[in-house]
Structures are given as C-alpha cells and as structure tokens.
Subunit: 139 residues, 4 copies
C-alpha cells in the first residue's frame, strides 16, 4: 500500500480566504478552486461579479497544477510552438490549462494539492494564487 | 432588459455552513454545491472523507434543482417508468439528477439558485439540503 | 492534512492476476480494471477475445466501487424503479455502473481502491471480482 | 472479409514490462498504455507515484500512435503553426496527442497496435516507449 498526504478542507478554505483577500485588494472578482493531490475538487468559490468561463478555467488550472505538480505558467512556456509540450493544452478534453494562475501546494516535499485562480489577467490570477500559497505556507 | 435576483457568495456560504453543520450532526461527510439561477456554480465544499463521485453528483443536483426550480426528488417520481419525465435522467449528458438531495433556493417568489448535497443516503442528502435552505430562509 | 492509504501497483497486479485465473477457469475472457481510492486508474487488462464495450464498463465498475465504497450490485438494487437511488446509473456521464462486477478493496477498515470486471454475465463478472478480492485479502 | 493481426495481451504485457524497466532505470514513474490496431485499450499500468493527468495522456498517446500508425512526435512537427496538420491536437475531443511518447507497434509491415507513455519530459516518455518497442521487436 501507498501512504499519502492531502490537503484537508480547513486548509483548502485557508487558501481560498487568502486568495479572496488578495483579489479584493487588487479589485478583481475571481474564481478560486482547490484540488487534492489526486485531482479531485475540495472547494470552490466564485466571488460576486466574477466571469462564468472562469469557473471552469479556475477548476482546470487547479487540476493541472495539482496533477503536473508544477505551476501552470511553466506549461505555457513549454507548450509554445516548437517546444516539447506543444499541444498539451488540448489534452484531457482541454482540461490541461497552460495559462498562469495555477500553482501546486506542497508540504514536506510532497505535492498535497493545487490551487487555480481565474478572473483577471493571467498575471493577476497568478498574483492571487501566490498570495494564497504564501498564506498556507506561513500558517 | 431583464432584471434578475441571484444568490450572492455570502448567501451561498451561509447555505454551505448550515449544510455542513447538519452533516456533522448526522455523522456523514458530504459534498455540498450551490448554483445560481443561471445554473453556474457559486461555491462548493467536500467535507473530509466524502466520496469522490459525490463531487459531481452534488454539483449536478444543484444544477438540476436550480435549473428546474424544483426539488430533485420530485423529478425522481416524475421519471419513473410510464411517467411523463421518463428518461430525463440521461439528458444533458446525465447532468439531470433525479435523486433526492437537490433543492431550489427562492426569495420573494423567485428561484435565485439551488443547492445540491451528496454523500449519504438520498434521505440524508435531502435532510442536509433542507437544513441549509431553512437556515437561509430564517436568516 | 489528511493521511490516506492506497493500493499500490504490485497489489493491483495481484488482483488482476487472480481475476484472470478465475476468468480462465470459467472460460470467459474478461476486462479487469483496478482504481485507487480517489478513482484514478492503476492498472487494466483486456484478456484476448474480451469484448470492446467491456473495456469501459470494467473501468467504470471499478470507478463506482472505489468511489461509493460498495459493491456495484447493491447499487443496482438501490436504483430499481421506485427505489431511492433511481436514476443514479446515468449520473457522472453514465460512469456510475449499477451492474454486478465491481467491488471495493479494503484494508484495515478503509477502502483503498476498487476492482471492476466485465465480459461475462453479471454473475460471472462478480465471481471473477470476488476471486480477485479474496486473493488480495489472503495475500 | 478482412483478416487482421493484432497485439495480444502477452505481447502488450511484454511492452509494459520493458517500459517499466526503462522508467525505473531513469528514475521517473510513468503511465504506460497499450492499444490494439483498432484503437481499443489492451493494457495499462500506472507506476507508483506517477502523475494523474498522465493516465489519460498515456492512453491517448497510444490511441494516437496506433490510430495514425505513426509516432506522436511526428504529429507534433506536422501540427506546428502553418503546417498541414495544424489543429489536429484538438480533434476527437482532444484525444489526438501530438507530444512525443506514443509509438506504433508493427510486425511484418503492418501496424498491430501502439504504445503511449507519459510521466516525464516528452524526451523521457519517448525513451521509455522506444525501449518497450525494442524489447518487443527483439523478443
């Protein structure tokens, strides 16, 4: 048998609360999703006024970051024309999102989940995701 | 133009908090989803230990209840063999859930969203959804 | 954080090997799938001559058994017309299989995965799945 | 009538065993899938620790290689901006994977199946797939 560690709901809510605080600070309503290390959804919130497509994009950014154990932004770079991961964005029914705003969440060297943020520019989404992860690590 | 009323995130979180309290009271970890009146997800939480298929079923119960503006349990009765809604459970790629546990949320005579609960028996799921809606109306 | 236990690949292969032995004994080529407790596929084999639809049905029986933490056969009974889980077979895009042949795999009181078998009659599928789980528990 | 030749399960397992040996040698846990010439799954294994998105990507690399009867890497080159196969990666619901790591398996001039590997870099995935095919041909 394998033994695994995983984000719990309290930790997922800590991530979302910190993300919302940063999103409010920059004045952009966001969708925020938290997945576990097995790519199953733990928690999600859509801030009032956030965009409808951002619901799915936030969820899939979290899926991608938790699943690849890497920031989605790096996958964007690796999938540019001519690069090795070219075409990855349409795999898994398009669930692999290569836009900034998805980050893995790690503890003790293991990825225990991921967060995905969507609603602003990719840079804003990433800023919000980074604030969330920083709050988790610092907690 | 149409003017709509819709659950906001604070209200969605009130629904989820009340649902979790009831789920803890009966000792069954649940997935709880809240949709708006346009069938778009506002908030979701999976309690620690809740089942993976319940993630999708809770979301789709909320979709069904908000969309049909009726409890999912009634759709179960209406879709029995020989009844008029026979076959509805496989429409929309199977998103129409006819199992108890999805309820519309109304205000001033208008449906403004829906809640879906999954993780226990259908009766338990419905009990948790009812506790959530009662907390909202009473709030 | 949550700490979980999960089937590893060696255990999944033990399950499949035992399933194949029973399938050969009764003379019916089968598809056999093993999922982890988070409903992600660990291993799959289609015996020579097994039917093409059985590929997906075996995988989805394993998904259902691991996810609901119960035999798929019980879900068949609970979803008969007029019963509480009526309509469950079309949820999650039809991935919830209510036909015998899916069993959870447990250890120390926790479900750590599931097996799904398809290719024969539901009774034969269940017999093969039971032989696999018996081999795992006895190992 | 057509008479076809196709990988059998024993051969599929030979491919997977050789792939796992190479993956262990380079120290990267992989997902490995083998399809038949009709693009139906024969066998699959996820090594302990391999990533969840790699499950689907390995299966779809095998689908693409068996189906196109060509390495997936070549499709990556042919689908670059301005090239004739531009856009192919999003066909078939995204199942056409244009990333290295999928190879056809041939015998006597006919493609009899395909293998797909995912979990490392595209170069690592291809190295593992090549080791598998070499073991098959040499066997």
């Amino acid at each position: 048998m394998l033994t695994l560690t995983r984000l719990d709901l309290t930790e997922a809510r800590t991530l979302i609360t910190a993300a919302k605080a940063k999103a409010e600070e920059i004045g952009v309503p966001m969708c925020i999703a938290v997945m576990d290390e097995s790519c199953n959804l733990i928690a999600f919130e859509r801030m009032d006024g956030a965009k409808v497509p951002s619901i799915t994009i936030a969820i899939d950014k979290a899926f991608t970051a938790a699943g690849t154990r890497n920031p989605t932004k790096g996958l964007g770079e690796a999938s540019q024309p001519g690069k090795p991961a070219w075409g990855v964005s349409s795999t898994i029914g398009g669930r692999m999102v290569v836009i900034a705003g998805g980050l893995p969440v790690a503890s003790g060297g293991a990825v225990i989940g991921g967060i995905g943020v969507s609603g602003g520019s990719p840079d804003q989404d990433l800023e919000v995701a980074e604030a969330a992860v920083a709050a988790f690590v610092g907690g």
